[in-house]
Amino acid sequence: MKSKNPPEEPAHEDNFLESSRRDFLKHSGLLTAIAFTPSPLVKAAKSGLDEKIADLYEKVPVSLEVNGVKHQLSIEPRVTLLDLLREQLELTGTKKGCDHGQCGACTVHVDGHRVNSCLTLGVLVSGKKITTIEGLAKGDQLHPMQEAFIKHDGFQCGYCTPGQIMSAVACIREGHANSEHEIREYMSGNICRCGAYPNIVNAIQEVKEGGQPV
């Protein structure tokens, strides 16, 4: 993620923009930067560390609440919510599957709505409440959906399971778990390579029919 232009990537027509952005930061940006910024940046500028200044300037403050805990962070705008959760907050329950919004392993709730965290930039969820798989249980008491997945053997390798469970909880909350057909349609954004689908559907149906609050 750190390299600006990895060699394996082909040259793009807007490479000139990259250079002009750097020029902007080096020339005009630096003057205003020094005028308004704390001393570490000024020191860095005096040392000629333009690139470091550029990096610092490109970081964006983000405040968000994850599983009830508030965080104040400073992140690069290209960091996804998934990487932020896993790499910075060490919440590795949320899985990186395809990293392109095709498998659903990274599903989390943002302000109560399920999303693919791999396609969500961290800067876009500032001020929001995030719930991950780590936030479902109450202490040692598992969430009813977690219990049901265990009871119905709703997984084999388990890699897709955090995403499946987050999606399953949302599926019931949205009111889209009224039949096997509807559950399958509204769980279609979560792929299970082991093929545990029938058991996942059973688990969701049990929780739905049990009527417990999810």
Binding site: M1, K4, N5, E9, P10, H12, E13, D14, L17, E18, S20, R21, E58, V60, E76, P77, R78, T80, D99, H100, G101, G104, T107, H113, R114, V115, N116, L119, T120, L121, V123, L124, S167, A170, C171, E174, H176, R184, E185, Y186, S188, G189, N190
Partner: protein
């Protein structure tokens, strides 16, 4: 992913100023853009976040229904006004993507989403859309998903949206704003055919911001159907999709709208087939005739030859559902 700057201009006017600069791109839901940036297909210099702009409203306007550009696909698909007045749009939205993606994707972003042609996505392959002049990998390549209408020797990619197929059928209008003021673009004129410039997906000018879409009132609510045929039951792009909307008087078709997805570089309105339906009785025979007219002029590329049979069959089936024959 290449580094970029991020900004969130406070007002609509400030957003329009910001997007008028080279290298700047708007980000809303990000479901398509972030994916393209990760793959190096696009590499903006600056992202302009517009998620805070007041463009999420869904409300009646004189003679129609307005849907804001930032309304989420999931919200629009379940909105009471949309379900009651424009069920075709609701059905099309629910046929697209996954629940997670629909919770992120906006109406404006859906309109502007780019083709899913594998050659467009693979930066090691030629693609005139991604890199003008490099050639088209899909012509003579793997083209199962590709166009049968309106393609050129430069590009045979298709527009991937389901929502847009419904909107073109419903005669929607796209409302855009720039420094020059607002402009209303009929939906059928919004997207382009590839021609010599497949790099241009649509006619949105530089510095223009989509504010929303308007759907005129109609009498299609009772007899609308969106039928999407794909390689799996859910969560896949269309091989062929059909938006069908009928206004019936007894057993006679008084008015008709037909459009297809997965067959062209733009959502493909079937005007000639609509004309044939009007005044005819509801019957499988009527629908078959319309379907055969709809497919006239189709051209296939090897991998997508099957669409010559699939497309008319899908039209007939969608019309049967819309009219209540099945």
């Amino acid at each position: 992913m290449k580094q970029f700057q991020y900004s969130r201009p406070a007002t609509q006017q400030a957003v329009i100023d910001a997007i008028n600069k080279p290298g700047a791109k708007i980000i809303a839901g990000g479901t398509n853009l972030v994916d393209l940036m990760k793959r190096g297909v696009t590499a903006p210099d600056k992202l302009i976040d517009i998620n805070h702009l007041p463009l999420k409203n869904i409300a009646p306007v004189k003679g129609g229904l307005h849907i804001g550009a930032l309304a989420l696909n999931s919200v629009v698909s379940e909105n009471k006004l949309v379900v009651a007045q424009q069920p075709l749009l609701s059905m099309a939205l629910k046929a697209g993507a996954s629940p997670q993606l629909r919770n992120m994707a906006t109406v404006g972003g859906n309109i502007l989403q780019r083709t899913r042609c594998a050659y467009f996505y693979d930066t090691t392959m030629p693609c005139n859309k991604r890199e003008p002049g490099s050639g088209c990998g899909a012509i003579g390549g793997y083209n199962r998903m590709h166009a049968i209408f309106g393609a050129s020797d430069k590009c045979i990619a298709v527009h991937p949206s389901d929502m847009c197929v419904a909107l073109v059928a419903l005669d929607a209008t796209v409302i855009v704003q720039s420094k020059k003021g607002t402009r209303r673009i009929p939906f059928a004129d919004f997207h382009r055919l590839p021609g010599e410039h497949p790099d241009l997906d649509n006619n949105l000018a530089a510095g223009e911001l989509i504010l929303g879409v308007e759907i005129p009132d109609n009498n299609f609510a009772k007899n609308s159907y969106y039928l999407k045929i794909r390689d799996r039951q859910s969560y896949a792009f269309a091989l062929v999709s059909v938006a069908a909307a009928l206004e019936l008087e007894g057993n006679t078709i008084k008015n008709a709208r037909l459009a297809m997805g997965g067959v062209a570089h733009k959502p493909w309105r079937l005007v000639e087939a609509e004309k044939v339906l009007i005044g005819k009785p509801v019957s499988a025979e009527t629908f078959n005739i319309a379907a055969q007219i709809a497919i006239q002029g189709a051209k296939t590329y090897g991998g997508n030859d099957f669409k010559l049979k699939l497309a008319p069959a899908t039209i007939t089936e969608a019309l049967k559902h819309a009219s209540g024959l099945v």
